[in-house]
């Protein structure tokens, strides 16, 4: 740490309550799990560094990186000028020279400002030249925080359409840590969407050390069931699980598949759950048209068509910018009730 001669420090934040379970896992919030992965990897791999706007001294807009500047210093936790496009390009250059940069977008919404560096340069590089581009972009995703049209977006589908990227969307603390470790170690450019609405609202047991690495490209059956599949990812997973709980009490057995990675998709898991239940409801927070749900539906309707016995239903935000007013934002986001309604309608097909 060095550029803080001018800075007066707060008293350090109280350490968060960490519960350790008998098998050595710790109970962490989603946010703590992300930070744990960053810290773990930076401690073990000197090539790893981080950069972004206000990630250093300030600890990031969401305080995900708090304390890392103090631990790793200004060469590894780099506060940058406001330049998303240059930031991603610089990460590519650093990656070329053997470093493993992690870029934080202050909000996922601003990833579009770095678009060309991502989809044109980095994504295509390995195919065109054979040189890998091992970087990670962390992008705080989604709504629910009354952030309005430019602090609530879910832009993952743009990157799913761009050849050469990997895109992950963890929904639990364990996946948040496990996928971030995998993303940092992956030789490809990986976009890691982390859900703002889950940062402090979700806790869970998370393995320490090398345990709990979650492979990119593998979905997870978050709840097994037989009557209907809900395929989802990111924040709505928790709404889907609540809906499944409620349906269970009505004797309906719902399988919830958490994609976890939206590029490349785990097609085997998608087809397996389709075969099992024959009825699929796809849920995501991003707007409907051209979203990831469309790709999932298209894959199923081509490759698991014979196993379907009902229409493929998508539940997503409408095709509007995420609105601010709580009454509008709430109406626009998929939630337990909407999932229940859609599921029941589908079950009665």
């Amino acid at each position: 740490m060095t550029w803080d001669s001018i800075i007066q420090r707060d008293a350090p934040a109280a350490p968060s309550r960490v519960t350790v379970s008998p098998d050595g896992t710790r109970e962490l919030t989603y946010l703590e799990a992300i930070k744990d992965a960053l810290q773990y990897e930076m401690r073990h791999d000197p090539r790893v560094l981080m950069m972004g706007e206000d990630v250093g001294v300030f600890g990031g807009a969401f305080k995900v990186t708090q304390g890392l500047f103090e631990e790793f210093g200004e060469d590894r936790v780099i506060d940058t000028p406001m330049s998303e496009l240059c930031m991603v390009g610089a990460a590519t250059g650093m990656a070329f020279m053997g470093l493993r940069p992690i870029v934080e977008m202050q909000f996922a919404d601003f990833i579009s400002t770095g678009f060309d560096s991502i989809v044109q340069y980095a994504a295509t590089n390995h195919y065109r030249t054979g040189s890998p581009v091992p970087w990670v972009i962390r992008a705080p995703n989604g709504g629910g925080l009354r952030g309005g049209p430019f602090h609530s977006q879910n832009p993952e589908a743009w990157f799913v359409h761009a050849p050469g990227l990997k895109v992950v969307t963890p929904a639990t603390p364990a996946d948040a840590r496990g996928l971030l470790l995998s993303a940092i170690r992956d030789p490809n450019p990986v976009i890691y969407f982390e859900y703002k609405s889950l940062y402090r609202s979700v806790r869970g047991f998370v393995p320490d050390g090398e345990a709990g690495l979650v492979p990119i490209g593998r979905a997870n059956v978050a709840r097994a069931g037989a009557d209907l599949s809900i395929i989802t990812y990111g924040a709505p997973l928790h709404e889907a699980l609540k809906a499944a709980d409620e349906l269970a009490s009505e004797n309906v057995s719902v399988e919830v598949l958490d994609l976890r990675t939206v590029k490349p998709l785990d097609v085997d898991a998608i087809y397996a759950t389709t075969r099992k239940t024959s009825k699929v409801l796809i849920v995501h927070e991003a707007n409907l048209t051209g979203g990831v749900g469309a790709e999932v539906a298209a894959l199923i309707s081509q490759h698991a068509f014979e196993h379907l016995d009902a229409p493929l239903v998508r539940l997503a935000a409408p095709d509007i910018p995420p609105p601010y007013a709580p009454v509008l934002e709430d109406a626009s986001r998929p939630n337990k009730q909407k999932i229940l309604d859609a599921a029941k309608k589908l079950l009665s097909f």
Binding site: Q8, F58, M82, S83, S112, G148, F150, A325
Partner: protein, 321 residues
């Protein structure tokens, strides 16, 4: 330059009103009546009010998140801005956009900004370009920050404005911080205005906490642009006196720096000058403050009684018809 008493009175009212509006919003936030982000503009009153007062009604202004005063001067009523903050149907975005974002109204010649900084800049340049193409004697004015100055689009917009010699006034509010990032980490120059020369454009630095200097300079620059002599960059030096937004206690800002700038408070300085000029006394001050509170209460009452948007209309208006 002559400053008429009427002008000074307007400036005084709106600077005071803006400050009070800012304080009121913080109070509402603490009461939980306002959710989402809240940006304080304290310390920026001379810039927003001083520059906006240099424009004619026909001119277009594109202010930013710390330019609330400019919206007011240009006719966006406090009741509407307050409605926007409270997510009501009566705000300029009808509850769709948040806080000062998208707080525009083209019928008032105010262009709203979006978060992606500085996306409004080329829009304002295009507006100025339209004035030139249509041979209308109007100008456009756009604000941006020291942080936003690092974004590539600032370069494109300044270059474009200069190549096409459009009637555009760029105002950069250098308030020493972009969120937690001090200007020394944002650029390796002392003055952003040094970049104007690279576009063949005049640039001028003003004390952003001095209403008289801001206003006089913008008046001159507006005239320059209106005469067809092309764009100008004005750098207003100031200090962000609060955190980036209300959640930020700005522990990264040295206390001495804040104390130093406290001494240069734009409103205190304006009022001192007004007293020196014999235009202000205790009675007038009291009267003005009472008017501010009254108008503010009315705005708040309007907003708090205004309806929320109708969720049945959630998906309406995505396309113009």
């Amino acid at each position: 330059m002559e400053f008429s008493p009427q002008l000074l009175e307007r400036a005084h009212y709106w600077m005071r009103f803006t400050r009070a509006f800012d304080d009121r919003l913080s109070a509402l936030f603490k009461q939980g009546k306002l959710v989402g982000g809240l940006f304080s503009q304290i310390g920026h009153e001379a810039i927003s009010v001083g520059a906006a007062l240099a424009l004619d009604d026909d001119d277009v202004i594109a202010p930013l998140h710390r330019d609330v005063g400019a919206y007011f001067v240009r006719g966006m009523t406090p009741a509407r801005v307050m409605s926007q903050y409270l997510g009501r149907e009566t705000g300029p975005s009808r509850g769709r956009d948040v806080n000062m974002h998208g707080c525009g109204d083209l019928s008032l010649n105010i262009v709203g900004f979006i978060s992606h900084l500085p996306q409004t800049l080329p829009v304002a340049v295009g507006i100025a370009h339209a004035f030139k193409l249509k041979r209308e004697p109007r100008v456009a004015m756009n604000f941006f920050g020291d942080g936003a100055s690092s974004e590539g689009l600032v370069h494109e917009a300044m270059n474009w404005a200069s190549v096409f010699r459009v009637p555009m006034i760029f105002i950069v509010e250098n308030n020493r911080y972009a969120y937690s990032t001090p200007t020394a980490r944002q650029m390796r120059v002392e003055n952003i205005v040094d970049r104007a020369a690279g576009y063949g454009m005049p640039g001028v630095v003003v004390d952003g906490n001095d209403f008289f200097e801001v206003h006089e300079t913008t008046v001159q620059v507006v005239e320059h642009a209106r005469k067809g002599e092309g764009p100008v960059l004005i750098e207003c030096k100031t200090m962000r006196m609060r955190g980036h937004a209300i959640h930020d206690n700005m522990s990264y800002v040295p206390k001495e720096l804040l104390a130093e700038w406290e001494q240069r408070d734009p409103i205190a300085r304006l009022e001192l000058r007004l007293r020196e000029m014999g235009l202000l006394d205790d009675a007038k001050q009291t009267e003005l403050m009472a008017r501010v509170v009254r108008d503010l209460d009315a705005a708040q009452a309007f907003a708090e009684n205004a309806p929320f948007p109708d969720p049945a209309q959630l998906t309406q208006g995505i396309y113009a018809v």
